[in-house]
Symmetry: C2
Subunit: 341 residues, 2 copies
DNA sequence: TAGACCTGGTTACCCGGTTCAGAGAGGAAG
DNA sequence: CTTCCTCTCTGAACCGGGTAACCAGGTCTA
């Protein structure tokens, strides 16, 4: 049971291969009657174009690539990537584009994967995520000449097209809110320091606190364990913070547990803010005040841009909506003892 | 800057295309000296085989497919799939296999995606997950004649190869443990009832409780909200359960919050068990007793089997390790008032 | 009535790599 | 000195589509 080809259809319809090709691609050159006959036969024998044969003629691969360079244990925990992927998928599926995915262990391997996929014409373009400061991948991808959309800050994307959201804005909004509530010692449990968006948040955080609050930033690897450890250390310090901003929700939840374990009541003694909202933020007690972003939409925009790029359009950097603060039960006025200190 | 082809290499080396093909594929038919020269040139100009051209000759696509049929919001929350995928990736990456991923909205679309990928010879095989009772996809895939590994119970996999783990065993172990702790009213907040593994757990749960405890099962859609609602209802009933088993960890965490909100202390008044362990289970307070499975390993085994199947080997159904109970702080002896009831 | 122009179809060749049937060259055996 | 074999290497065909160029016949226009 071989796969049917256009030659089979041509034989059945009593026309040449070319007529079949034109008919099935909606090109002019065949009568409507013949076209209908050919389409009916194709339908009947379940013909599908062989993507390899098409690709050979320089056609699109109808596929884009994404290599993820994070350890599996973090990937599994952070909803961010799955949400991003499902957003990307939503757009790709409409255009029958597929997503080629590979988990890699380091940047060198990641560049190699992209080079291979592109070299083998398996993909028409790719996404680049988790930008590092002075990222080697940017240069490599620029050299390939492949359409790429960087999901990250344009300042580090070189000549590649990028999509980003203003994390600084979100930081300022959050700090402003906490300061208004009377908080003067605010800590941030941040993610990996080598990531560009961590650096952006770090800087914005320091600036936003300038003159109104004492900022403390602790870097972690995004896992709950490190989030818990950082929280324990922060809450044990003599001038402990009255508010903590966590760079993801899993760490915020971990921090919340540590606070409970240390008899620090949230939000009475400590306010907690989580970056990136997920159902998780809402099921814990108290529900977490969170920086909400529509991540699937973010992915969808990135996908649209990549497809436009592949179609040959020029795509300027695009700033997506910044995360917005969604106040819930985990934040409140700074504790009274603050004034005494 | 066109991609180099074997013709370019042939021209440079002063030999025919055929010699180049043989040389680069390690086939006999060229002298070692020529081979070395050709390989060196290929290396130098950065040649990569065009996968399309290879596929055209009936070669493998070096790619397998996975279509996920779950709403995005659930995908993002459940670590299961990301962990499964990273396990699959680990094996695929070693053999330079890629994973083609698509999120679909229903089974019909899913079958269509597989049919297209296979028809277009984009993939050499696929995984099938989230089996339903009397699943239409099984028949469709059998008809395609494509190598498929079903991640689910063999009884519903038809003639397709399958990999599964004995959820019944895990249920029995958990119920036995709870009964030994004195629990007599045990509830289960289960997942989607149409999924085969939910049905398997349902049955095993009913059987395990036979004669030793009163089982109650509530079905949900795996989200925290429904988990919370189910918990609220269970804890409000006059003969409320003293232990609840949740089908995933997000619902268990939600349930834990509901218990706290209702002043039901865990584990004093209520024991909680989560199915599938994740860092999340360990960061909440108290840490959750969980049914631990090595999901990445599960995915890895599935991938190995699929590759074997593609290689033409016959692959019998494979039973992976059952989930093992990892007791933590959320389970304890049944409350004293139990004896009065 | 001749030339230009559509219509519906064909032939020929390309894409990049694989495979198969030989063709020379060189060496060993008879 | 043949004959035969082996080792290298090549030309041609092929995989399944796409595309350019062309051609026969009918229609329109000058």
């Amino acid at each position: 049971m071989k796969r049917p080809t256009i030659a089979d259809i041509a034989a059945r319809a009593g026309v040449s291969k070319v007529a079949v090709s034109y008919a099935l691609n909606g090109q002019p050159g065949v009568s409507e009657a013949t076209r209908a006959r050919i389409v009916a036969i194709a339908e009947e024998i379940g013909w599908r174009p062989n993507s390899a044969a098409r690709a050979l003629n320089g056609a699109r691969a109808d596929c884009v690539g994404l290599a993820l360079c994070r350890p599996a244990r973090i990937l599994g925990v952070e909803p961010f990537f799955m949400e991003l992927i499902s957003g990307i998928e939503g757009v790709l599926a409409d255009r029958s584009y597929a997503l080629l995915l590979q988990v890699v262990t380091d940047h060198q391997q990641e560049s190699e994967v992209y080079r291979r996929w592109w070299g083998e014409s398996r993909i028409d373009g790719a996404f680049l995520v988790d930008l590092h400061t002075s990222d080697t991948r940017v240069g490599e991808l620029e050299r390939l000449g492949m359409p790429v959309v960087v999901i990250g800050h344009p300042s580090e994307s070189g000549s590649l097209s990028s999509i980003w959201s203003d994390d600084g804005q979100a930081v300022r909004e959050t700090v402003g809110y906490l300061v208004a509530l009377g908080h003067r010692r605010i800590a941030r449990v941040a993610g990996l320091p080598e990531l560009v968006h961590t650096a952006v948040r770090d800087r914005a955080f320091a600036e936003a606190c300038q003159g109104v609050a004492e900022p403390v930033t602790v870097h972690t690897d995004y896992t709950g364990e490190e989030g818990a450890r950082a929280t324990r250390r922060l809450l044990s310090s003599p001038d402990r913070p009255t508010a903590i901003i966590y760079d993801n929700d899993i760490m915020a939840v971990a921090g919340l547990s540590v606070a409970q374990e240390m008899r620090v009541e949230v939000p009475r003694d400590l306010s907690v803010v989580a970056w990136d909202d997920s159902p998780l933020s809402q099921v814990v007690r108290p529900p977490l005040t969170a920086l909400t972003r529509d991540i699937p939409a973010y992915g969808a925009h990135a996908a649209q841009r990549l497809l436009a790029l592949i179609a040959g359009e020029s795509v300027p950097p695009y700033e997506d909506q910044a995360a917005a603060l969604t106040p819930r039960g985990s934040t409140g006025p700074a504790p009274a003892w603050m004034s005494r200190s």
